[in-house]
């Protein structure tokens, strides 16, 4: 399992910086927002927490695309399924490495992008907290989506379609917490709920993902 984690991280760093790319996408989406909605700073500062959450979510989603697809194409998944490693564990490791290479950098980069969108000063802490709490859930749910669409050519877009509705609760609570934080209100309730979702998905989703993966490999 540590071997798998190390390999995935190594691949992420080597394969054209797979790990900077989620970040770059986040950056670009955030930069495109002023171009599309116009440059008024009060407007931007109102929508900043939401845009940052949405950008982070999309960056996660895009990098999920090949989380399992590459391993499927070159036969690694077939071999892993016959290896003495429970598939649940392997998929948890995959989700973890996805979070380390995508979610974590997003969390760290968010404050900088917050500056660009005029995020209220009080909002930074809660934005980071909500992202740190929420992005693991995004990775775990995403792994489920990736397992569902493994082996389907052009699966990327289908996966987005399947995964995005599953992201809704996480997004609502996360963005709500960030928004309340930015407005100086108490973000306690949504944060707690967000933490609940994250813990729940981490505990349960790997089983669903492994079950689904066994079906698709068949």
């Amino acid at each position: 399992m540590i071997a798998l984690l190390r390999r995935d991280l190594m691949l992420a760093f080597r394969a054209g910086g797979g790990f900077g790319l989620g970040l770059a996408f986040f950056l670009i989406v955030t930069v495109l927002v002023p171009f599309s909605v116009g440059p008024q700073s009060e407007l931007l500062s109102t929508i900043a927490p939401g845009v940052l959450w949405l950008g982070a979510l999309l960056a996660c989603l895009l990098s999920l695309d090949r989380l399992l697809a590459l391993d499927f194409e070159d036969g690694t998944l077939d071999l892993l399924a016959t290896a003495p490693l429970p598939l649940e564990a392997a998929l948890s490791v995959k989700a973890l490495s996805h979070w380390l290479t995508t979610g974590l950098p997003l969390v760290l980069a968010a404050p900088v992008l917050g500056l660009m969108l005029n995020l209220a000063p009080s909002g930074f802490m809660w934005l980071i907290a909500s992202l740190a709490l929420g992005t693991p859930a995004l990775s775990v749910i995403g792994t489920f989506g990736a397992a569902l669409t493994v082996g389907i050519k052009r699966g990327g877009l289908l996966m987005s379609l399947l995964v995005l509705p599953l992201y809704v609760p996480t997004l609502i609570f996360g963005a709500e917490a960030a928004r309340r934080g930015a407005m100086g209100l108490d973000p306690g309730t949504p944060l707690t709920l967000l933490a609940g979702i994250t813990l729940g998905t981490i505990a349960l989703m790997p089983f669903a993902s492994a079950a689904v993966l066994r079906m698709t490999l068949r």
Binding site: I2, A3, L4, R7, M10, L11, R14, A15, E73, D74, G75, T76, D78, L79, L80, A81, T82, A83, P84, L85, L217, R218
Partner: protein, 205 residues
């Protein structure tokens, strides 16, 4: 322990392909699977390796003992030869990759990224992977594709050594490998009406 297959029926894409297949492989033995294109060799091997469920029949002695090598090699283009091997060794709880490197003369290529190997070199690396799994049963689907004569000899030597150490091998191939082993032709086992029971679409007939 013997690998034994009894009355196995297998399907691909929901369609029964083979029925009533039975054979056994004892430690130290190899079995060469033959049959024309589309006969169902790949399907049979994937079933035995546990990648798909049989329609019916029994597979004994296959749990956690099989190392499978199919049409794809499971190599990462962006990892070096050594890193690829090491990864699979660790997954299977081993660490020594020297023997495998030596058996397929991969020494000179050790630091090359797997993506820059030629077709035959890639395949050699894929076969070397088998040796680091420590598994007793090798289930191989056309292992010598794009290998040259020297490399086929390396492969034959590796299999012979594996059998000598009490291992087993089940190999589907169209060419002569120069192995001292029995042959099993699957052509007669093509699924017929009476051996087709259990197909997933049976209920619709």
């Amino acid at each position: 322990m013997t690998l034994s297959i009894q009355n196995l029926a297998v399907a691909r894409g929901g369609v029964p392909v083979l029925g009533n297949v039975s054979f056994a492989i004892a430690p130290g033995q190899a079995l060469i699977l033959r049959g024309p294109n589309g006969a169902g060799k790949t399907t049979l091997l994937r079933t035995i390796a546990g990648l798909q469920k049989p329609l019916s029949g029994v597979i004994e002695g296959a749990d956690e003992t099989i190392a499978y090598a199919g049409h794809a090699d499971g190599l990462k283009a962006m990892l070096s030869v050594a890193e690829n091997l090491q990864f699979w060794a660790q997954v299977f709880g081993h660490s020594d990759i020297e023997a495998a490197l030596a058996a397929y003369q991969l020494g000179p290529l050790i630091d090359r990224l797997a993506g820059t190997l030629s077709a035959g070199q890639k395949r050699r690396l894929g076969l070397a992977r088998l040796m680091v799994t420590g598994r007793r049963v090798w289930v191989l689907d056309e292992p010598t594709v794009s290998l040259d004569a020297d490399a086929v000899a390396m492969f034959a030597a590796a299999v012979t050594a594996h059998l000598g150490a009490g291992g087993m091998a089940l190999i589907a191939t169209h060419i002569d490998l120069g192995l001292n082993a029995q042959t099993f032709d699957i052509t007669p086992y093509r699924a017929t009406a009476d051996t087709r029971s259990g197909a997933s679409d049976e209920a619709f007939l």
